[in-house]
């Protein structure tokens, strides 16, 4: 028998937890699933239980009500479990999530699934970006804050956005010598004035940023705008970095290059939404310029083009934790309304209020996206021999050859070169492929479409399928 519930939520970050709490309040039975050992996601990430350190981060205090809220009988929390697929079961007319992990049902069914899978670090390729020692800002934070491991001794940060300030502050506090933080955008202050209305009411967040800045000032870490790492060299590991000043389009200005020896380069070019499930399910997708990828089309209640499949938080559009939580509330309310657990009046009342708050949050995330967009020129740092698909070791030259055969879509490039066919199914290279295709064919990136994805979303041992088999006849 396949276990059934009212609502499945995938991802126990801020959005997923809030959706679970809201849904449980309205009386739904919820299963909340996460791949990590503890709920919280990346934003409210908790230290491993084995660590005896006292966790009093202000972020975790803020999350305490959510962590408490999910401890209730109507919410079944499944951590350390991977969802490797979502299928429509035509017999039960329910959505089926297929799971991998110890002591969990292999399949779960519900009329609605809220997908809250968040985002991962976005990378851009440059010569040497695949050398050990080049890591993303998110990875640096996880290593330092949650694993207690220093990524190296001397580091530089390059990229865009406030996340790299946070990562730099964490590295400084942990004792890493930070040579500098390079922000590829320039004129941030002038650009910022255009967004004053977006900034209003965001003082708590601003304060968070000032904290990081203070940490960096104390350590005399230079913050340079309009600069970027343009190449990294070393024998099998990072040994030397070359940085350069950028022109308005993001192209390195000849003659401004400087080199430094170090062992760690931290890159952070924003976030890429985890859209795997939406592509797997064939949800209608729309190109979004700030993220450089296709995102699921959603109705005002964050339902995708497939009835019963909801998308909230960063996996649907980069907007941060607060927005994810608000969207989670609305989506949960809509699921309850669809299953006749609330009246139309109550539902309208509830969502109208939240939608106001969502508007404010959207203004803020729009501002961040515009301030910290990746300048176009940075996409042409890679050299012909630079590896673009790291899983299958496919170089830029090979990708250009495929385009010269007549490839029109990123899927064509994948099929010709195997770029995006490896372990990660294109998580890192897909948006890069669409940039390369667009610039070589001189057309908008949206015309290259997006890579299909196939189950399992994460590699799963074959053994798992044979062991969980029920009803197999020899």
């Amino acid at each position: 028998m396949i276990e059934k519930t009212d609502l499945i939520i995938i991802g126990a970050g801020p959005g997923g937890m809030q959706a679970a709490v809201s849904a449980a309040q309205i009386g739904l039975q919820v299963v909340l699933i996460d791949g990590n050992p503890l709920p919280g996601g990346q934003y409210y990430k908790q230290l491993p239980l084995q660590f005896s350190v006292n966790q009093n981060s202000c972020l975790l205090k803020e999350a305490a009500s959510l962590f408490d809220g999910i401890q209730q009988p109507s919410i079944r929390l499944l951590t350390n479990k991977l969802v490797w697929g979502i299928f429509y079961n035509p017999k039960t007319k329910l959505w089926q999530a297929t799971l991998q992990g110890d002591n969990c049902p292999p399949r779960l069914e519900a009329p609605a699934i809220i997908i809250a899978t968040g985002a991962y670090d976005r990378s851009i390729p440059f010569p040497g970006w695949d050398l050990p020692g080049v890591i993303t800002a998110g990875a640096a934070q996880v290593l330092v804050k949650y694993q207690g491991i220093l990524p190296g001794k001397r580091a530089i940060l390059s990229g865009t956005g406030p996340l790299q300030l946070a990562a730099a502050a964490n590295l400084v506090d942990a004792g890493v010598e930070v040579l500098g933080v390079l922000e590829c955008n320039q004129g941030l202050i002038q650009k910022g004035f255009l967004h004053l209305t977006g900034i209003l009411g965001q003082w708590s967040r601003m304060k968070e940023g000032f904290q990081y800045a203070k940490s960096l000032l104390r350590a005399r870490v230079p913050y340079k705008t309009g600069w970027s790492v343009i190449r990294v060299d070393g024998e099998g590991k990072v040994e030397e970095v070359t940085i350069a000043q950028l022109d308005k389009e993001g192209n390195p200005i000849p003659g401004t290059e400087r080199s430094n020896s170090l062992d760690t380069v931290v890159v952070g070019y924003g976030l890429t939404p985890s859209t795997e499930f939406f592509r797997l399910l064939d949800c209608e997708m729309i190109y979004s310029k700030p993220e450089g990828v296709f995102l699921p089309k959603r109705d005002p209640f964050f339902q995708t083009s497939l009835p019963g499949i909801y998308a909230i938080g960063d996996c649907a559009k980069i907007g941060g934790a607060k927005l994810a939580m608000l969207e989670g509330e609305v989506a949960a309310a809509h699921v309850a309304y669809q299953s006749n657990r609330t009246t139309k009046d109550k539902f309208d009342q509830m969502t109208a209020k939240i939608h106001q708050a969502i508007k404010r949050e959207n203004r803020f995330s729009k501002m961040l996206a515009e301030l910290f967009a990746i300048p176009h020129g940075l996409f042409s740092l890679a050299k012909p021999e630079t590896i673009i698909c790291r899983c299958e070791q496919i170089s830029l030259a090979e990708i250009r050859t495929a385009i010269s055969y007549g490839a029109q879509t990123v899927t064509d490039i994948k099929n010709i070169t195997r770029s995006g066919m490896g372990f990660c199914q294109g998580r890192t290279c897909a948006s890069i492929l669409s940039q390369i295709l667009a610039s070589q064919r001189n057309c908008p990136p949206a015309e290259g479409y997006y890579l299909n994805i196939r189950p399992p979303i994460h590699a799963v041992p074959i053994e798992y399928f044979t062991e969980s088999s029920n009803g197999v006849q020899g």
């Binding site: 007549g406 490839a407 372990f423 189950p455 399992p456 041992p461 074959i462 399928f465 197999v472 006849q473």
Partner: protein, 406 residues
């Protein structure tokens, strides 16, 4: 108003057959449009193992075509000017029972005489060919050495790369929405992008042929079923020498008989070491390319039965494509009798091996009005179909009475 574009020939369907037809036509200096509803190879052509197969040939009328097609692969890479990762590889079909061998006997009688080696191998000899197979419970195997494997994507793109140099107009993500008929002749198609006029329209549309034909009032006898496959991570502890298939069927169900999968295993290893595993067949008319929730489990179960070591392999991806068959095992290939201007090239039992010759045949039909390469009269789209000895069909029943050719 949508723009109007004019071509000599419109080929619908950028699978391996459509790409070959586009290649042969552009080589003969025709102005060609190739229309594809998604991307190149998005149907069955991009979902297969690339087997260049002769041993599963329909026995009555298709042998000459397959032999000619197979021969083209000797020189195809040279002709197309790039690697399609072609290699010769034998196929080994494991037989559990004498009954399974009896079903293959006619094939073993006919094929060697026609120039396609195909023989019975006793259990003791199986391990000489494939040391990792445990022959203990096997009745034997059939061994066919006259096979090959190519990278289907590189094959399609090698055709297209050459066609593009001859100004092929490739329209990806463009769907045919209707046909234009004038004084009893097909003169073009309506698409989601533009109106296109041409002297000839060729449907190389495999599983989508029937529904397109219905727009014209035809009900061509092409059936579909769902074939699934999966790929593992690269594997160094196990190397197999052949394409291994099994004559056994296993049935897997999760919710009940309605979602049963009937699996026939086929297993091969890429030159890089990844294992391509199995084929789970779901009966019924399907056009939806989504893999079922049952398929990965069904494929894993049968593959590990023959190769227990695969239990440790990680599964990277599983996928599905609607695949076609006809009652008599032959393609629908040739002009449509009552509608001048329309040519079909659909539902080849083994599309890759036939793709080069299909391109030649269609080009001849357009160039000179008839085909003198081969007698294609048996493939006429309007023929009455008689069920052949081996029917490419699966039944969702507990007893596997019907045999599937390898």
């Amino acid at each position: 108003m949508k723009p109007v574009q004019t071509f000599d020939v419109i080929v619908v369907g950028a699978g391996v057959v459509g790409c070959s037809i586009a290649y042969h036509l552009t080589k003969a200096c025709f102005k060609v449009a190739l229309i594809e509803r998604k991307h190149v190879g998005s149907g069955a052509s991009g979902a297969n193992f690339g087997m260049v197969q002769s041993n599963d040939v329909e026995l009555k009328h298709s042998i000459p075509m397959v032999l000619k097609g197979y021969k083209r692969f000797d020189t195809l890479e040279e002709e197309l000017g790039m690697s399609i990762e072609f290699r010769r590889i034998a196929s080994l079909r494991l037989l559990s029972t004498e009954a399974q061998w009896n079903n293959s006997k006619e094939r073993a009688d006919i094929l060697p005489g026609a120039g396609i080696p195909y023989e019975y191998v006793p259990p003791a000899k199986i391990q000489e060919i494939e040391p990792t197979v445990d022959p203990k419970n096997l009745f034997g195997a059939t061994y066919a050495s006259f096979q090959g494997q190519a990278n289907p994507f590189l094959l399609m793109w090698a055709f297209l790369r050459n066609s593009n140099r001859q100004n092929l107009a490739l329209f990806s993500h463009t769907e045919v929405t209707g046909f234009l008929i004038e004084s009893g002749r097909l003169i073009g198609v309506e698409t989601t992008r533009s109106t296109m006029h041409a002297n000839f329209v060729v449907l190389a549309t495999a599983a989508w042929t029937r529904s397109l034909g219905q727009k014209l009032g035809y009900d061509w006898n092409i059936h579909t079923f769902r074939a699934s496959a999966m790929v593992t991570e690269r594997f160094s502890d196990l190397k197999i020498n052949t394409i291994v298939t099994s004559a056994d069927h296993i049935e897997t169900e999760i919710n009940g008989p309605e979602d049963a999968e009937l699996t026939v295993m086929a297993l091969t290893q890429t030159p890089e070491g990844n294992f391509l595993i199995a084929q789970a067949d779901r009966p019924g008319e399907v056009l939806d390319g989504k893999i079922s929730h049952v398929a990965p489990q069904a494929m894993s179960s049968i593959a590990t039965r023959f190769f227990p070591v695969l239990r440790n392999a990680k599964l990277l991806r599983a996928w599905t494509a609607p695949t076609t068959y006809t009652e008599d095992g032959m393609p629908l290939l040739g002009p449509v009798k009552d509608l001048p201007g329309l040519i079909l090239a659909a539902s080849f039992r083994s599309a890759i091996v036939n793709s080069p010759i299909a391109g030649e045949i269609v080009t001849q039909l357009i160039q000179q009005g008839h085909c003198d390469l081969l007698d294609i009269s048996s493939f006429a789209p309007e023929r009455k179909m008689e069920a052949a000895d081996t029917v490419y069909r699966v039944k969702s029943e507990k007893s596997p009475q019907e045999e599937t050719p390898d």
